[in-house]
């Protein structure tokens, strides 16, 4: 193992029933790097991401965060992780603001001094999302694309350094996708890490993107 910072996976193997999804799979994501996981439907992209999140235990192999197995430091690892799955994970009866505030309250304590206060960041993000007018409507009445934007905003507003995104840009229009790419680029600028599955090309100029074909 070379430099220990970031996420590493060694010789992962995962079975689903009597089907082997992947074997001898190793990967590493370092600060400022993006890993694009590609492959046809049903090949096991989501399963791989869930393994990397620590949600699914692998049959063999291990996943290391900063050189330490993730099971040995779950809380520490999850404090640095923002995951976006197929489902938005938003409460339909709460407004976008309430959803985002709740996600923040569960993961992060009071704002560290010296940084922009959370409510200001929330405000900025909603403006950027073009959701300002809908911020106080229940998420139920938003369109699928708008809901997806709110879910992406949850990652933006977390202070996590590792983003694991499963088809984050589904339901987004062209402008939304452009905005999504900008978010990724900014996160990489801040030495963040991204693991993403997407059927579309991820366009983050000036940044090295690794591709993993399953």
């Amino acid at each position: 193992m070379s430099e220990a910072v970031g996420l590493e996976a060694w010789e992962l193997e995962l079975w689903r029933g009597d089907r082997r999804l992947f074997k001898q799979l190793s990967l590493a994501v370092r600060p400022g790097k993006l890993l694009h996981v590609r492959g046809p439907n049903g090949i096991g992209k989501t399963s791989l991401l869930r393994v990397l999140c620590g949600a699914t235990p692998v049959d063999t192999g291990r996943v290391l965060w900063n050189g330490v197995p993730i099971e040995a430091q779950r809380l520490e690892y999850h404090a640095n992780l923002a995951y976006l799955g197929h489902r938005d994970g938003l409460k339909q009866d709460l407004t976008a603001v309430e959803n985002l505030r709740f996600a923040r309250a569960v993961s992060q304590g009071s704002d560290p001094t010296g940084l922009t206060p959370f409510s200001e960041r929330l405000d900025e993000t909603l403006t950027e999302l073009e959701l300002k007018h809908a911020a106080n409507l229940p998420v139920r009445v938003l369109s699928a694309g708008q809901r997806r934007r709110v879910a992406i905003a949850r990652c933006l507003l977390s202070d996590a350094s590792l983003w694991i995104l499963d088809e984050p840009f589904s339901n987004l229009d062209t402008a939304g996708r452009r905005w999504g790419d900008q978010c990724l680029a900014r996160h990489l600028d801040r030495q963040g890490m991204v693991i993403i599955t997407s059927h579309h090309a991820v366009d983050v100029p000036r940044h090295a993107t690794d591709v993993l074909d399953l």
Binding site: R50, C53, G54, A55, T56, P57, L75, E76, H78, A79, L81, Y83, G85, H86, R87, D88, G89, L90, K91, Q92, D93, L94, E98, F102, A103, A105, V106, S107, Q108, G109, S110, P112, P138, D159
Partner: protein
């Protein structure tokens, strides 16, 4: 970056659930309506005979409360599981058991406490002696919290099933029987002028046991479903 303390996460989740319930108060009120219906049906079916109703009152009250609790239990984790919130919670930097405990607490506040508050009225309808009402309320308070904790295990085990309601009842009823017996006994003793301390202390002991084990069991069951 400072992660939220488990206490902060507990409060955030409990508040969110209470707020959600306030937006859908019709759904949250279902168990109460059920409780009231069962209680009003008994005098109608048995006739308004004073002594008969009085004798059955503790049992009827407790069975109705148990079933009302069970009715609401199924949905404790279901909605969060289906919309992906549970996944987000499981991947948050918090011990899952504290989040389970927060869900149990809000479930109890939304169903247990209203049942306790409604019970004097129900007791009156069944001619339960007025002296027994404080004991009934205390025992119901302890008993419903106990049922919420036990029910969380069942709800966590059946969260991935589409029609988990009956299975949940089968899983939980054996665990719930001691609560029913002790609660009925305490109410009965108070109604006949005996000192109900014994069963009340037993309820407290079971509550302590359930509070220290159930959140961990439910959290483990949820993790399995989220794999």
């Amino acid at each position: 970056m400072t992660p939220a303390t488990p206490g902060q996460a507990f409060i955030a989740l409990a508040r969110r659930d209470l707020r959600l319930a306030a937006r859908r108060w019709g759904e949250a009120g279902n168990p109460l309506v059920f409780f009231v219906i069962v209680i009003t049906l008994f005098p109608l079916a048995l006739g308004a005979e004073h002594t008969l109703l009085q004798r059955f009152a503790p049992g009827v009250l407790w069975v109705a409360a148990l079933l009302a609790m069970l009715l609401a239990q199924e949905s404790v984790f279901r909605a969060d599981f289906e919309d992906g919130s549970l996944e987000q919670l499981a991947l948050s930097p918090q011990p899952l058991w504290i989040l389970v405990l927060a869900k149990v607490a809000s479930h109890w506040l939304l169903t247990g406490i209203p049942l306790v508050l409604l019970s004097p009225l129900a007791a009156y309808a069944l001619y339960l002696p007025g002296d027994a009402i404080p004991t009934l309320m205390l025992a119901l308070g302890l008993g419903t919290l106990l049922l919420s904790l036990l029910g969380a295990i069942g709800a966590a085990l059946t969260v991935g099933l589409h029609r988990g309601g009956v299975l949940l009842a089968i899983l939980i009823l054996p665990l719930a029987v001691p609560t029913l017996l002790l609660g009925t006994r305490a109410t009965d003793m108070a109604a006949t002028g005996l000192d109900p301390q014994g069963p009340i202390y037993w309820l407290c002991a079971l509550l302590a046991l359930a509070a220290s084990l159930a959140p961990f069991a439910a959290a483990a069951a949820l993790r399995i479903h989220l794999e």
